[in-house]
């Protein structure tokens, strides 16, 4: 099956710093989403981005589908950004399921 790997596995930042998280996937995909899992366990949808670039406030994401990777950029990090960031992909039109990556655990300190 498709493999979804994220890097780095852990990231520690000071408030105000910028970061780039990476998601590599082993096969072509029709859907890619980025999620933030906050310390309470809630999964929050950040981006639906099967290709191209999107921006939302301090966050932006780019997916290069032909090269099978996606990047999540964050600027001016805040302590509330802490948690685990997952990318998730859907392989084809014939399947409903999202396959989640391994996650990046982000800790932002004041």
């Amino acid at each position: 099956g498709i493999q979804v790997e994220q890097s780095p596995p852990d990231l520690i930042l000071q408030e105000g710093a910028n970061s780039t998280l990476r998601c590599n996937f082993s096969d072509s995909v029709n859907n890619l989403q980025w999620f933030h899992q906050n310390p309470w366990g809630q999964l929050i949808n950040l981006f639906y981005i099967p290709s191209g670039t999107k921006q939302n406030g301090r966050l932006s994401a780019t997916t290069v589908a032909t090269e099978r990777y996606s990047l999540l950029y964050s600027s001016s990090s805040q302590t509330t950004d802490s948690g685990v960031y997952f990318c998730a992909v859907e392989k084809s039109y014939n399947t409903d399921k999202l396959i989640f990556g391994t996650g990046t655990r982000l800790q932002v300190f004041p």
Binding site: N31, Q42, I44, N45, Y48, Y93, T95
Partner: protein, 118 residues
């Protein structure tokens, strides 16, 4: 903004008991899902549901599990004869259309039910 709601937020049960986890998807959504996350691990797909029937299920979703849409708003996951290894966070999700389809249709997740089997 409309959201997916799940109840209860935390359920503790004894091994061998049956549990029902409840979800109210977003009202105009047509596709419903259950995912689970064992503590510290990644989120795993369990089952998808469309037009009152299961459209896809994973190897995890064996005869111990069942899903139902008993009325026009609720979507439930039943786990019969719970085992210790069923302890996990269970997430319900919904989407307006197929996430990988031609429409821009992301999955929206509920806040989860943390199931603890003792």
């Amino acid at each position: 903004e409309p959201e997916v709601t799940q109840t209860p937020s935390h359920q503790v049960t004894q091994m061998g008991q049956e549990v029902i986890l409840r979800c109210v998807p977003i009202s105009n959504h047509l596709y419903f899902y259950w995912y689970r996350q064992i503590l510290g691990q990644k989120v795993e797909f369990l089952v998808s549901f469309y037009n009152n029937e299961i459209s896809e299920k994973s190897e995890i979703f064996d005869d111990q599990f069942s899903v139902e849409r008993p009325d026009g708003s609720n979507f439930t996951l039943k786990i019969r004869s719970t085992k210790l290894e069923d302890s996990a966070m269970y997430f319900c999700a919904s989407s307006e259309a197929l996430p990988g389809g031609f429409d821009n249709s992301p999955l929206h997740f509920g806040n989860g039910t943390r199931l603890t089997v003792t």
